[in-house]
């Protein structure tokens, strides 16, 4: 088949030409990262908690700045922390602040920039329950410890006395995260505060050793499992429950009120601690005092090196963060995230201004 041979050789030639052009493009890119009009590319990875918002931000920011291309992959907060430490990404993201030992073992100083506030909500998949369920902290802890096994348990009933239709006589299937997660860290941080037993047996962190349940990857995975499996209970960021029309439970806060997660109750939780927030902005606001505060609220952070390696990319990063905590906040409300309190915005500005390249502040450079 001589004609087939000819075709084959033509195809191979074409392929080679294509590859060579790719390689040329690649090396050209290395040559002129700072050239005028060049596209600047940033890679971010981390928390799934703020992912719906970040995707919206990137989409909107990309429209305003076509020559800056920022990508964000939601691989979990644990992944965000790991990859920023390995310097494989330009910025990481996490809902729980990095631990001291993680900061120490990083190759440079990492700063935390809070972007928005969110709520970790208890969501569930139960047939025939119309009104949102109510939970007290001890009941949540015992469900996730595996001590309360059935939906018609007397203690769940007690929290929901009156108003709620009969709870089904079925097993509870707990859904938790299988990856390292800031959402898990926030949730377990809360449970450790309200349940001594939880603190002793499980503790808090991005990858706790869950006593019971199914694992799902990311907020996406947990929401998916809850949505697809009857009689499940899980914890996810509010936006995921709302986007998927899943019910959201009311939780009893430290003042004894059952509070619905939402913009106001999350903002109320943050308001309590604004004055006492430390300089580096690493703070936990779970189980906050205040009559209307939602107890499982959290800031979510972008993680970036204080000293950037590349001027153009560093500049693009600070500009994007600056845009995020100002103009970006208006997209937060639509997706059920609470904007930062004014005082925190001001202090976040200071942190962004502290980012340097070659010792020179990047933000002021314009």
């Amino acid at each position: 088949m001589p004609s087939a041979n000819k075709i084959t050789s033509h195809v191979i030639t074409l392929l080679l030409a294509f590859i060579l052009s790719l390689a040329a493009g690649c090396s050209g890119e290395h040559g002129g990262t700072t050239g005028a009009g060049r596209q600047v590319r940033l890679q971010g990875a981390g928390a799934t908690f703020p992912n719906p918002l970040y995707q919206k931000w990137l989409s909107e920011y990309g429209k305003l700045n076509p020559n800056i291309r920022i990508d964000y992959q939601s691989i979990g907060s644990g992944g965000g922390i790991k990859q920023i430490k390995e310097q494989t990404v330009d910025f990481g993201a996490s809902d729980s602040p990095m631990k001291d030992e993680d900061l120490r073992s990083a190759p440079g100083e990492i700063i935390h920039i809070p972007t928005v506030l969110g709520a970790v909500v208890i969501t569930y998949n139960l047939q025939g329950i119309q009104q949102p369920l109510r939970f007290s902290p001890e009941v949540i802890a015992d469900i996730f410890l595996g001590k309360i096994k059935r939906w018609d348990d007397a203690r769940i009933k007690a929290d929901n006395a009156g108003g709620v239709a009969a709870l089904p006589a079925t097993d509870i299937t707990v859904v938790h995260r299988s990856d390292g997660s800031g959402t898990s860290a926030v949730f377990t941080d809360y449970l450790s505060k309200v349940s001594p037993e939880w603190k002793e047996k499980v503790g808090s962190g991005t990858s706790p050793n869950w006593p019971v349940g199914l694992g799902g990857k990311g907020n996406e995975g947990v929401t998916g499992q809850v949505k697809q499996t009857p009689n499940t209970i899980g914890y996810v960021e509010l936006a995921y429950a709302v986007q998927n029309k899943l019910p959201v439970a009311l939780i009893k806060n430290s003042s004894g009120n059952f509070v619905e997660p939402g913009l106001d109750s999350v903002t109320a939780a943050a308001a309590e601690s604004v004055a006492t927030t430390p300089e580096d902005l690493r703070v936990s606001i779970t189980n906050a005092a205040g009559a209307t505060a939602y107890p499982i609220s959290s800031y979510t952070y972008v993680l970036a090196y204080k000293e950037q390696r590349d001027a153009a990319r560093g500049k693009a990063l600070v500009d994007f963060l600056w845009w995020g905590i100002h103009d970006g906040e208006k997209y937060a409300r639509d997706l059920q995230y609470a904007p930062l309190p004014q005082e925190i915005v001001r202090r976040a500005e200071d942190r962004i201004n502290a980012i340097t390249q070659g010792g020179k502040p990047l933000r002021a450079a314009q």
């Binding site: 691989i75 979990g76 907060s77 644990g78 992944g79 965000g80 922390i81 790991k82 990859q83 430490k85 993680d102 073992s105 097993d171 299937t173 299988s178 990856d179 390292g180 499980v202 503790g203 808090s204 962190g205 991005t206 990858s207 706790p208 050793n209 869950w210 349940g213 199914l214 694992g215 799902g216 990857k217 998916g224 499992q225 697809q228 499996t229 009857p230 009689n231 499940t232």
Partner: protein, 372 residues
């Protein structure tokens, strides 16, 4: 009678030629190659033999027996590429051993029997993952082995050629479906189906067994095992098919001549091919052990040893897939790499054993019959 037997014989002979020239057709061609230690057609005597045999060894002549510089370069390049394969495997082992040193020294043998996987406390034990891997693979084998034996017997011993070819092709297409697609199908079709129909039935009928107690979610060891069974069926059946068609026709003729029924003849053939079938099964096991995406998507991802098959579990491959990009502590990462090393070595050994077993049958394809 004679005519019929001739026909049968020629059919089997045709089969043999078909299989020998055709193995590269299927998605499973490599397994086929592994099953055949020597080429099926008479091997050309290697070219290195030309004119070099009697003389003493020298490096240059080792490279170019013909004494031609072009040959030396050519052979050198080829040799380097072959060497590269050895280097790749060695560097894989070295890289993983080096990266898991922390965990190896910290836990030692305890790693294999530790039941706790707790990154917060820095306690890492591999037993739950080993358990999940072993049990899900066993479930897969329990289902896949009879199924693929049936398929192979049907294709080699029973089906007319016009039917056998397309069916064989379709079954092998199962092996061409990517793992992630099985996972997708598992999440949205298989898991809900098992949850609604199969698992409740099992719980009702065999609920007295601890295996079938517990909460029915459709996600867990059982579902993972079934997905794996579907995935390894084409692999086992393809190799068994080759092994069966390698059994000499004289065996079948002898059985038929003694008045055996078709099934009794098949049993004789099976007995002849026993070690090859064992090899095929172990090859399937090797694949099941290393399967990642599909299992990750349906097994529930929870490091716990539970008697119930309905409970979520975790396999070695899936914990690496889930946690590798985010293991923040050095010890954590090192423990994950050690899991990878274990998986690597286990699949290496399993595949080696399978290969030897399959060889033992297919080696003398045209040779004399082995004792039953």
């Amino acid at each position: 009678m004679k005519g019929k037997r001739d026909k049968r014989k020629s059919k089997i002979e045709k089969n043999k030629i078909r299989f020998s020239t055709r193995f590269s057709l299927s998605p499973l061609h490599l397994l086929r190659l592994m099953a055949q230690v020597q080429p099926t057609l008479p091997a050309p005597s290697p070219a290195s033999g030309y004119g070099a045999r009697a003389r003493p060894w020298s490096f240059r002549r080792a490279l170019a027996p013909t004494g031609n510089t072009g040959d030396a370069i050519f052979r050198g390049v080829l040799f380097f590429c072959a060497l590269l394969l050895l280097l790749i495997v060695t560097s894989m082992i070295v890289a993983m051993a080096a990266n898991s040193r922390l965990s190896l020294t910290e836990f030692g043998f305890r790693f294999l029997i530790g039941r706790e996987w707790n990154p917060i406390k820095g306690e890492f034990g591999a037993l739950p993952f080993i358990y999940g891997t072993v049990v899900s693979s066993l479930i897969a084998l329990l289902i896949a082995v009879p199924l693929s034996l049936g398929v192979a017997i049907f294709l080699v011993e029973q089906a007319p050629r016009q039917l056998a070819r397309p069916i064989a092709f379709l079954v092998e297409l199962l092996a061409a479906i990517p793992s992630v697609v099985y996972g997708l199908w598992g999440i949205f079709v298989l898991a809900p189906f098992l949850r609604a129909h199969v698992e409740p039935q099992l719980a009702r009928s065999f609920g007295w067994l601890p295996l079938f107690q517990g909460t029915i979610t459709g996600i867990g060891l059982f579902t993972g095992g079934i997905i794996l069974a579907i995935m390894i069926t084409p692999i086992i059946s393809a190799v068994v098919r080759d092994v069966l068609s390698a059994v000499p026709v004289s065996q079948r003729e002898a059985a038929l001549a003694l008045g055996a029924t078709k099934w009794e003849t098949t049993r004789v053939v099976l007995a002849n091919a026993a070690s090859g079938i064992a090899g095929a099964i172990i090859l399937g096991l090797g694949r099941a052990i290393g399967e990642t995406m599909a299992v990750t998507m349906v097994i529930g991802n929870r490091p716990e040893i539970s008697a119930s098959l309905f409970e979520p579990s975790y396999t070695i491959a899936s914990v690496i897939a889930n946690e590798f990009t985010e293991a923040t502590g050095d010890l954590y990462l090192s423990a994950l790499v050690e899991l990878g090393l274990i998986l690597f070595l286990v699949t290496f050994i399993v595949n080696g054993v399978a290969k030897l077993l399959v060889w033992s049958v297919t080696r003398g394809t045209s040779g004399t019959a082995r004792a039953t």
